[in-house]
């Protein structure tokens, strides 16, 4: 049996390939691990690969508009180093810098990160805070899903055979927002997050966003905490309360599992500290 590899030059070629049952190769840093594992158990290679990383539209970073757009084949290395990303969505740049290693970031793409749908995906936590809606194409047309709609369970999505994520529409954060991404891991590189967190807020708490990853089936906006932040007078007591609420949401969602003795205090601490330092960066004096 032979395996074909198609480096798609445009969306049409890619979709035509996918329509024939090809696997999407969008960096391959997850896919190749799965393929290798299957081969260890005696499976063959997939029959067709379609490499989508050469498609111009999937490499678009278009953030200085009212409808910010991020192509699915943009690598983490570009997110880490791109000037517009640093200016418009710094939490995405910060998240990108924590992914894998330089070698992995050079290959791995944001679309691949979402499609793989790991509960601990750093890109996914960041995109969730940015309100990303996935633009999904197939030979039948384009549809849009929020990340919460797209991802149904760990490593499980609503993507249908033949569908390809082409990119993400992002929210424009309120003027004057400060963003933060923080990751806790067992070492400093090439590590899956034990926990990650993304925060975006402004002085007026217009539309605060707080996302926690690696604590739920997929990264989740802590909407109750966001409401608390929007409704109460900001300050240390609120940060503390927010941390406590975040930890409670984790326990409510996942039960008191083996990881709880660590994660419960860590979630509370991480939320508290991130709020405190972000507020300080906003330059608000009490």
């Amino acid at each position: 049996m032979t395996t074909t590899y198609l480096a798609a030059r445009n969306l049409e070629e890619a979709l035509a390939g996918l329509d024939r049952g090809a696997k999407v190769l969008a960096g391959g840093t997850d896919l190749m691990v799965h393929v290798r594992r299957a081969r260890l158990y005696g499976a063959g290679l997939p029959e067709h690969f379609v490499d989508v990383t050469g498609i111009p539209d999937l490499n678009r970073i278009d953030l200085d508009t009212d409808k910010p757009f991020l192509g699915a084949a943009v690598t983490f290395r570009r997110l880490e180093t791109d000037e517009a990303v640093a200016r418009q969505c710094p939490l995405l740049a910060q998240a990108a810098a924590t992914v894998g290693s330089l070698q992995i970031r050079t290959l791995a793409t944001v679309g691949g990160n979402v499609a793989n749908a790991s509960p601990a995906a750093d890109g996914l936590t960041a995109l969730t805070a940015l309100g990303a809606r996935a633009a999904i194409a197939s030979v039948n047309g384009v549809r849009h899903l929020s990340l919460a709609e797209l991802i149904t369970a760990p490593n499980t999505t609503r993507l249908l055979p033949g569908e390809l994520i082409v990119g993400f529409e992002l929210d424009r954060p309120p003027e004057g927002s400060v963003q933060r991404f923080h990751k806790i891991g067992r070492r400093r590189a090439v590590v899956i997050a034990r926990m990650n967190l993304a925060l975006s807020m402004d002085r007026e708490m217009t539309d605060p966003r707080l996302v926690l990853g690696a604590c739920f089936p997929s990264p989740r906006r802590l909407t109750e905490v966001e409401r608390l932040l929007a409704s109460e007078t900001p300050g240390p007591n609120v940060w503390k309360e927010a941390g406590k609420m975040a930890a409670e949401q984790f326990v409510n969602a996942c039960g008191w599992r083996a990881s709880a003795p660590y994660k419960v205090p860590a979630v509370a601490n991480l939320v508290f500290r991130t709020l405190e330092s972000t507020w300080a960066e906003l330059g608000v004096t009490e």
Binding site: G44, S101, I184, R187, R188, P261, Y262
Partner: protein
């Protein structure tokens, strides 16, 4: 001078250019590929092996099982504890044990067939914890064995610890634990075997070619001279390539099929099929007088050796012998027991139980210092071994004992860092200190090395050594030793290395022994060679051979350099008489057996010493630990090649950091590097300074001892001590994971 300099490492260019062929690179087109079929349940009785589906996979040539072994079924590195079944025969003793071996035309056919083998089995009740295994009613891992699950035991009794403890001004009692650790050498196990002149030739990565030859020959029921083992370039070992791995399978398949075969473990197979570092549980009671002199130590050590013995006898003894650390303690009572369990087997790993024991002896001395309000460095200096003092085994040290100098040389760094960081746990930073002693060479047994040195009439100098260079640099260092001895440039010496047909036994590359022991053998070989050419020169020139000098390839009578002769000329005149200018050398360090009741004796001829200090930063909210800086002072006797010594120390610190903070192999949970974490370069601290202390060992080549394992040993205790300072609680359980730090920070740990 050649020694004390750092010429380019032998083979480094080939490795940089990708031309070096490691064990995993061996193979030719047309070789059969071998894959083990491994059990995923244990313990269990094999009711039947269903091979038909696997045999039907296209490309499968043959499937081997225990019934195909022509010779001895049980192998093992230590002669008196050979118990390892390379094919499970009726009983599967640990998860991952091989039950069958597939030989196929391609790797994918072999892997597919391995999946198609069905093992029908009945599960047995197993035991997975050392202390449970030692209980009276524990299921037996090897039923019928006289000692039950007790694999090995070492008792050390010196003075009267019990009585002495009752008179101590201060006593500290605590328990320490460590985990299973996987070596994760960069190269997994691999090699090739073929038949030549009715002999089996195996070329594979290994730390121990002459042992491989002996055990493969036993396995195949052949005389050892019908098995030739050639060491392929070896991408790291750390003890993991001391036991045989692929070699018996390669030998069996090549011999029975009469075809070339090759085999390479995947990372998953390397995790399943090779030994681990022994997890230890260490209960300690230490007593000191009011001035801080250590008076008595009681230690109860137990460790899990898994389903097979491997190096368990050596590890039990090493851990016990080193239980006091580099300190003089007059009253010692140590009992170390290693138990069989149904876990994957544990064997040699860089330090043989001593890195585990070091966590305990360093934790204890820190605690005693704290209880007495003493400085942690002062108490170490006060108690440090010195010439004239005895170790736990009653070995009265003389000569090379550099621990005081290591501590004194590390002192300015430690004090500077302590002044910067302080001892308050509120800052989240801490400074730690750790020290160690390590006996060079195998414990209380003869462990000679042999070597030959030849000078050819065409001017080549050839060093024949059985020592396997596995990346640590023995090729470079041994060549430097010879170059220094013969007063020639090292580049002039060519090497014939680690091939059982061409070299004689140098013993294993383990126990930090090759520089010291093989270096000694090479010096003797050079002396024998020198005497041959001196004799001949004296004959030719009619002079007294006592006054001769040799340098730069020439020989002359002292004071008359004008009438010199080239060594080649003399060698040629020997050749004319059909005499090869070749010297044989042997060196075996002087040791004595340990008394079985008291453990008293001389286990090693010499010891290495070291002290390290570290600064860590603990994130008090997340529990993350960042090792910021490490400084190290190591007494190596003499640094033959300072760059190699520094390389060993930096690598050892990296491995020690992994042991301290993240490495923990849980059978059934960790299958590969996806979730088994080792440090990355991003986790590495600034290592500065690396201080090489040189207290020359008179029996060592130019004073050298060893550094391979000592590099690692003080690191984990040093980091544990620093984290303890940073969180305000002693850290006694490795690895110091996020969870353990959080536990210490949130006060859930009520042990103290």
């Amino acid at each position: 001078m050649t020694i004390g300099t750092s010429p380019a490492r032998v083979g480094s260019l080939e490795k940089a250019l990708g031309r070096a062929r490691f064990g995993a690179d061996q193979g030719e087109r047309g070789d059969l590929f071998l894959v083990c079929v491994r059990a995923d349940r244990a313990p269990a009785v094999i009711d039947a092996l269903e091979l038909d589906r696997a045999l039907a996979v296209p490309g499968v040539v043959r499937i081997f099982t225990a019934a195909d072994i022509p010779g001895e079924k049980l192998l093992g590195i230590i002669a008196v504890s050979k118990d390892q079944e390379f094919f499970a025969d009726k009983i599967i003793r640990h998860r991952g044990q091989t039950v069958a071996l597939i030989a196929a035309e391609t790797e994918s056919a072999a892997r597919k067939a391995a999946q198609a083998v069905e093992i029908r089995f009945t599960e047995l009740k197993g035991v997975f914890d050392a202390e449970e295994a030692l209980a009276d009613d524990a299921p037996l891992v090897h039923p019928g064995r006289a000692d039950g699950n007790l694999m090995s035991r070492r008792v050390i009794r010196k003075g009267d610890a019990e009585a002495a403890l009752s008179s101590c001004a201060v006593i500290h009692e605590a328990e320490y634990t460590t985990s299973f650790i996987e070596h994760t050498a960069l190269e997994t196990e691999g090699g090739r075997a073929w038949i030549e002149d009715d002999r089996v030739i195996i070329k594979a990565c290994t730390q121990n070619p002459h042992y491989d030859q002996a055990d493969v020959a036993r396995f195949l029921g052949l005389d050892p001279d019908r098995v030739r083992v050639i060491q392929a370039e070896t991408g790291g070992g750390f003890g993991g390539k001391l036991d045989v791995s692929v070699q018996p399978y390669l030998g069996l398949a090549a011999w029975l099929l009469k075809r070339p075969v090759r085999m390479v473990y995947t990372r998953e197979e390397s995790f399943l099929g090779t030994g681990k570092r022994h997890p230890f549980r260490m209960k300690c009671i230490t007593g000191a007088d009011a001035d801080g002199h250590l008076i008595a130590l009681k230690m109860d050590l137990s460790a899990d050796t898994g389903a097979f013995a491997s190096y368990a006898l050596a590890v039990a003894t090493r851990a016990a012998v080193h239980g006091t650390g580099p300190y003089y303690i007059p009253h010692v009572d140590i009992d170390c027991r290693l138990a069989y369990t149904n876990n994957p087997w544990a064997g040699a790993m860089r330090g043989f139980g001593v890195p585990q024991a070091a966590l305990a002896h360093e934790g204890q001395i820190d605690a005693i210092a704290d209880k007495l309000g003493m400085d942690r460095l002062e108490i170490r200096v006060l108690n440090a071994l010195r010439p004239g003092l005895s170790t736990a085994t009653g070995h009265v040290l003389s000569g090379s004992v550099g621990i005081v100098e290591c501590l004194e040389r590390i002192r300015p760094v430690y004090e500077k860092w302590l002044a910067e960081v302080g001892t308050s746990s509120k800052t989240g930073r801490g400074v730690g200190l750790g020290a160690m002693i390590y006996g060079i060479g195998n414990t209380s047994v003869s462990n000679p090395s042999t070597a030959q040195v030849e000078w050819t009439p065409d001017g080549r100098i050839i060093l024949f050594t059985g020592a396997a260079d596995i990346g640590q640099g023995s090729d470079t260092v041994l060549r430097q030793i010879l170059a220094q001895r013969l007063d020639v440039q090292p580049e002039r010496i060519s090497l014939v290395r680690a091939d059982t047909d061409l070299t004689t036994n140098a013993g294993a590359t383990s126990a930090s022994r090759q520089t010291y022991i093989s270096g000694g053998a090479i010096l003797e070989a050079a002396s024998v060679l020198e005497e041959m050419v001196f004799d001949r020169f004296a004959e030719l020139m009619e002079v007294d051979q006592l006054d001769l000098k040799m340098a730069d390839g020439r020989i002359w009578v002292t004071g008359s350099p004008a009438s010199s002769m080239a060594v080649e000329e003399i060698v040629q005149s020997l050749a004319d008489q059909n005499v090869r200018a070749l010297g044989n050398g042997r060196f075996d360090p002087t040791t004595s057996a340990l008394d079985p009741e008291t453990g008293q004796g001389v286990p090693y001829a010499t010891y290495a010493f070291a002290a390290q200090t570290a600064v860590v930063n603990v994130d008090r909210l997340s529990g993350e630990v960042r090792v910021e800086r490490v400084a190290a002072a190591h007494d190596v006797g003499r640094a033959i090649n300072p760059q190699c010594v520094e390389g060993q120390i930096c690598g050892g610190i990296m491995m020690g950091l992994g042991m301290a903070l993240m490495e923990e192999f849980v059978p059934g949970k960790h299958a590969n590097l996806e979730n088994y974490h080792i440090p990355t370069m991003m986790d590495m601290p600034d290592i500065d300074p690396v201080i090489i202390v040189e207290c020359p060992e008179e029996t060592g080549p130019f004073g050298a001892k060893g550094v391979g394992e000592p590099a690692l040993i003080p690191t984990a205790p040093t980091i544990a001590s620093a984290v303890g300072q940073a969180v305000g609680k002693p850290m006694r359980h490795l690895p110091i994971s996020l969870e353990r730090v959080m536990e210490a920070l949130t006060g859930a740990d009520n042990e103290d």
